[in-house]
């Protein structure tokens, strides 16, 4: 029986090719979108899950209060881990201090490659259950050792045996390969850990023991809990560890920030990374939900097309139902028949959607910045696929099946069958649903794009053009900075050179411990700071509002601040220039100038109070170079490379233009925008396919009426209006639903940015207009086609 059903369904499909292509194609697009989103969601949800100790690992966080706001981050003093180990050892299997995973230069003989890796305590290998291919997990105990990932080992040594060979990290640290581990899965926090060097090595080389105390939050701490311990209990136990230690120790000034230590479980790193005022409020999970919902909706839109076309067609199939019923088919059999038809179509659509997914994957990967894989070999994947097909078939097939099978044969065959008011109303409702969703998505897309545009247009207050930086990786560049600068400036292509500790695009270093006349004693002040050599301000062309730039003529400028306008307001100074600010025990600084606010952090945020100081020697991390606006960039770069290679022959010459650096601020948002536009395009496409089919159906159903009207004198224009009007009304109704929804959600979205657009009417106008125009084009095609047909053609068939 089932086979005959499928046979009938197959013939039915072949008979109406256009309709079937529309039906299957629309479903395939919807299913492909749902599959892609599904794969992305699964990949986000399974982030980090490949670690055996996934549910036992945590990162130690620190929350500090600045000016009444609690800010939370992963930065820790290096003294923390030993205390946790010694005092709370019962609760931890592992406590690991590490630096930050960074690109570093690895040298083997003459071979130099840049790889991302970290300096970490030995426990990390057990914590991450590294799969050792050679050597042992405890090899890191030797401060002269290094562990390489398989890929890194291959790049460095090719086929040769790497064990015991010497690898130089940076320009000074020599290590011996003590183990090779399998590459850590890319879909994880440690995916870019392609080598691990001993923390001891860094600590000794950089002389941290002497230099850094509880106040220097320069490192990270990871822990793995003992069996039986749970995160919240342990979190609670250790919360005052830092506070208690600074209270008794060497840095009482940072007590005011009320540091609280707590654990952030690995399960939450990826999806719940956002802390607001000390509370873990979410993060990427919101986006996972958002796109998950969009995926479901897109699939639903496609299912709706299927339902609408099936019930619309039902008039034609009513006769078949009538006949089948009179020869003895019962309702249940008819339902089975129609469901098998749906299943056949959905299965075909699924096959096509698979091809679409394969085709779209590279593009989608680029869009999401992920490497999505299709797990062909896992049985679970196929089970999920089968469920997916069945669900889709049931969603799209059940209503038509019940609807069609309920026809009464007597009425149907006698021809007094009414055209199904109920079904047609439901169809209209579903079209409204489709277009409401599509319009909301369009509104969202336009809002996101205009927010990005708005922020991009934000004046930054300095000149980025032809400005680049080179990271300082060896002290050679710092000690000879003046002569190096002179040599760079010998070329007329170079306009100016200055070194700084942070980049003007990301001044995230903050400092406290300041005092000035009239300061509120309870204020726990925090300034962002930038330290640079002479000429920095002139180079980036900041705008002096009051006072002057740093100058070599004033020796006293080594104890001077230039502040931004926000800092003046923050400090509550009437006449800032000439005032003095005491900075801990570093010195008493005179304010010599005020500059106009510049955007030196996230362009989405308010400008923060900034202090600029002169600085030479240690802690300078970047050489900033301005190439003359009329210079040949290529020549300039060649000159820079030759000079830098002279002072630092060991490093690879790398440079980045600030334009590029600044553009990074938009990567996330632009990705979101591209995804949103991609999916709203799909949604509108699917909805259009739907009304394309429906309008074709309506035109066909009314062909007799159109013929009569033409004979009685209706014009083509009039008929076109008559046929399009209904759909336009539906889209207009959808707009009424979509506008408040879109406004609500997008208003919520822009609130996340302090520098944001006001959502204005034109966004809605464009979205609605767009939807109307697209609808009109889609429907007009069918309407016009029907209207120009010679009426005797449609009337003759009676």
């Amino acid at each position: 029986m089932f086979k005959t059903y499928l046979k009938a369904a197959w013939r039915n499909m072949l008979e109406k090719k256009g309709e079937s292509i529309l039906n299957i194609g629309g479903l395939a697009i919807g299913m492909a979108a749902a599959l892609l989103i599904g794969m992305w969601v699964v990949s986000e949800l399974s982030f980090n899950k490949e670690f055996e100790n996934y549910d036992r690992i945590a990162q130690v966080m620190q929350s500090q209060t600045f000016g009444g706001e609690i800010s939370t981050n992963t930065f820790q003093p290096m003294q923390l881990a030993p205390v946790l180990r010694d005092t709370y050892g019962d609760y931890f299997k592992q406590v690991v201090t590490g630096s930050f995973t960074n690109a570093m230069l690895l040298t083997v003989g003459k071979k130099k490659v840049s790889r991302t890796g970290n300096f970490m305590e030995p426990g990390i290998t057990e914590m991450l259950s590294l799969k050792m291919m050679q050597g042992r997990r405890d090899a890191l105990n030797d401060p002269g050792s290094i562990l390489l990932s398989e890929t890194t080992a291959n790049t460095l040594f090719g086929n040769a045996d790497p064990m015991g060979k010497v690898v130089k990290i940076g320009t000074t640290m020599e290590t011996q390969v003590a183990g090779i581990y399998e590459d850590i899965p890319e879909n994880s926090e440690f995916g870019n850990l392609t080598f691990i060097a001993p923390w001891e090595l860094l600590k000794i080389t950089a002389n941290f023991e002497e230099r850094v105390g509880w106040g220097n939050n320069w490192f990270q701490t990871y822990v793995q809990l003992e069996d039986g311990a749970d995160f919240s209990t342990v979190s609670n136990l250790i919360k005052d560890v830092k506070y208690n230690n600074i209270k008794n120790g060497d840095d009482p000034s940072s007590i005011r920030t009320k540091p609280v230590i707590h654990l952030h479980p690995m399960e939450k790193w990826h999806l719940y990374s956002k802390f607001e005022n000390g509370v873990n409020t979410g993060g990427l999970i919101e986006r996972v939900w958002l796109f998950g919902i969009i995926g479901v909706f897109i699939l639903l839109l496609a299912c709706i097309n299927f339902m609408n076309l099936s019930t619309a067609k039902s008039v034609k199939r009513a006769k078949e139902v009538g006949i089948r019923k009179t020869i003895g088919s019962v309702k249940g059999q008819l339902i089975t028949q129609f469901l098998s038809e749906a299943l056949l179509l959905v299965t075909m659509a699924f096959a096509i959607s698979f091809v679409l997914v394969l085709l779209a994957r590279p593009f989608f990967n680029e869009l999401t910045g992920k490497a999505l894989v299709i797990p062909w070999s896992t049985p679970l994947f196929w089970v999920v696929c089968v469920c997916f097909v069945l669900t889709t078939a049931i969603i799209s097939g059940s209503y038509p099946a019940f609807y069609l099978s309920s026809f009464e044969p007597a009425k149907v065959l006698k021809g007094t069958f009414n055209r199904g008011q109920g079904a047609s109303r439901l169809r209209k409702g579903l079209v409204v649903f489709q277009f409401s969703i599509s319009i909301v998505l369009i509104i969202g897309t336009i809002t996101i794009f205009s927010q990005i545009e708005y922020v991009k247009e934000r004046p930054v207050g300095y000149d980025r053009e032809q400005l680049l930086y080179v990271p300082i990786t060896t002290s050679g560049l710092i000690t000879h900075f003046d002569t190096l600068r002179d040599e760079l400036l010998e070329s007329s292509d170079i306009a100016e050179v200055a070194a700084s500790d942070v980049l003007v695009t990301g001044t995230f270093t903050t400092n406290g411990g300041f005092d000035w006349k009239g300061k509120d004693p309870n204020m726990s002040e925090q300034f962002n700071t930038l330290r640079a050599t002479h000429g920095y301000g002139e180079m980036i062309d900041w705008e002096i509002k009051e006072g002057r730039n740093f100058s070599k003529e004033f020796k006293s400028d080594s104890l001077a601040f230039i502040v931004n306008e926000t800092a003046v307001k923050y400090m509550g100074l009437e006449n800032p220039v000439g005032e003095y600010v005491q900075w801990g025990d570093i010195g008493n600084f005179k304010i010599i100038g005020v500059i106009k606010d510049m955007v030196t952090q996230s362009p989405y945020d308010e400008v923060r109070p900034m202090l600029f100081t002169l600085h030479y020697g240690d802690f300078l991390n970047f050489i900033n170079i301005k190439i003359g606006n009329d210079s040949n960039t290529k020549d300039a770069l060649a000159h820079i490379e030759s000079v830098l290679q002279k002072y630092d022959p060991e490093s690879l010459f790398t440079y980045t233009f600030f334009d590029e650096e600044y553009a990074r601020n938009f990567i996330n948002e632009e990705r979101m925008a591209k995804l949103a536009s991609f999916f709203s395009l799909l949604a509108i496409l699917i909805s259009c396919l739907g009304i394309f089919g429906l309008s074709a159906f309506v035109a066909e159903q009314r062909s007799k009426e159109i013929g009569i009207r033409k004979v009685l004198g209706a014009s083509v224009l009039g008929l076109w209006k008559m046929l399009s009007k209904d759909f336009i009304l539906l889209v207009a109704l959808s707009s009424c639903i979509a506008v408040p929804l879109g406004y609500h959600y997008m208003n919520e979205w822009v609130q996340e940015y302090s520098y944001r657009i006001a959502i204005s009417w034109w966004i809605f106008a464009i979205a609605i207009l767009g939807a109307l125009v697209i609808t009109l084009l889609t429907v007009s095609f069918q309407a016009f086609k029907a209207a120009v047909i010679n009426p005797i053609k449609s009337l003759r068939t009676e």
Partner: protein
């Protein structure tokens, strides 16, 4: 002269061959005539009627309708012409199922852009004349075949055409109903309306003042 066909040819290409639907038709119709067109099935009666009604074109020959040369007119002008002077009655009635009797009657007036009050009066007039006032709010499916055709005729007449073209108007009716429609045509003809009808029945053909026989697209 109301209309005049001179040497009308109409053909279609089929498998590289010309298949003639109308061959060398010559016809003069004076105002006030009542003509019956007869002939076996497939002889081209409907085709001829469509050509006269300007719903269909032809390949050769001349067609004059009230001093206008139809064969040289542009589509739009032709539509104006038939909207103005021609009413159709179909064998299958061709009423719009979604509209009531009243609305069906009103439709041609809407297309002629006749004002609301005048329209109302004209529809009321027609309902009255055909004795279907009581049926005006019913839908076509709620009427008998004869009643539907009555509405069909009323709709053709409402815009006061000079010429009525009827393609087997009684084909779907029983003989009593058919006779009623024929009586109605006779009466209209007496009032001065020109009528051309296609019919298979000798008896109905007798109502006309002239009979045209077609065979294989040719007048005999």
């Amino acid at each position: 002269m109301l209309l005049e066909l001179n040497n009308i040819f109409k053909w279609v290409q089929q498998g590289g061959q010309r298949v003639f639907l109308l061959k060398d038709i010559n016809l003069k119709v004076a105002e006030g005539e009542f003509i019956s067109v007869m002939g076996p099935s497939g002889s081209g009666k409907s085709t001829l009627l469509n050509v006269i009604g300007m719903l269909d074109g032809f390949n050769e020959g001349e067609y004059h309708f009230m001093d206008e040369s139809v064969h040289t007119l542009r589509e739009k002008h032709r539509a104006e012409l038939y909207k103005q002077y021609i009413g159709f009655v179909f064998q299958a009635y061709h009423l719009i199922d979604e509209l009531t009797v009243y609305e069906n009657l009103e439709m041609p007036l809407l297309y002629k852009k006749i004002k609301g009050s005048e329209r109302k009066a004209m529809v009321a007039d027609m309902l009255d004349r055909f004795n279907i006032v009581g049926k005006k709010d019913l839908f076509p499916t709620q009427l008998s075949g004869g009643q539907q055709q009555l509405v069909g005729v009323a709709r053709a007449l409402i815009s006061k055409p000079k010429l009525i073209l009827a393609d087997e108007p009684t084909g779907n009716l029983n003989s009593k109903q058919g006779q009623d429609i024929m009586e109605l045509f006779k009466q209209l003809n007496n009032e001065g309306v020109t009528i051309i009808q296609v019919t298979h029945s000798e008896k109905n053909a007798e109502y006309g003042s002239r009979i045209i026989q077609l065979l294989d697209g040719r007048k005999v």
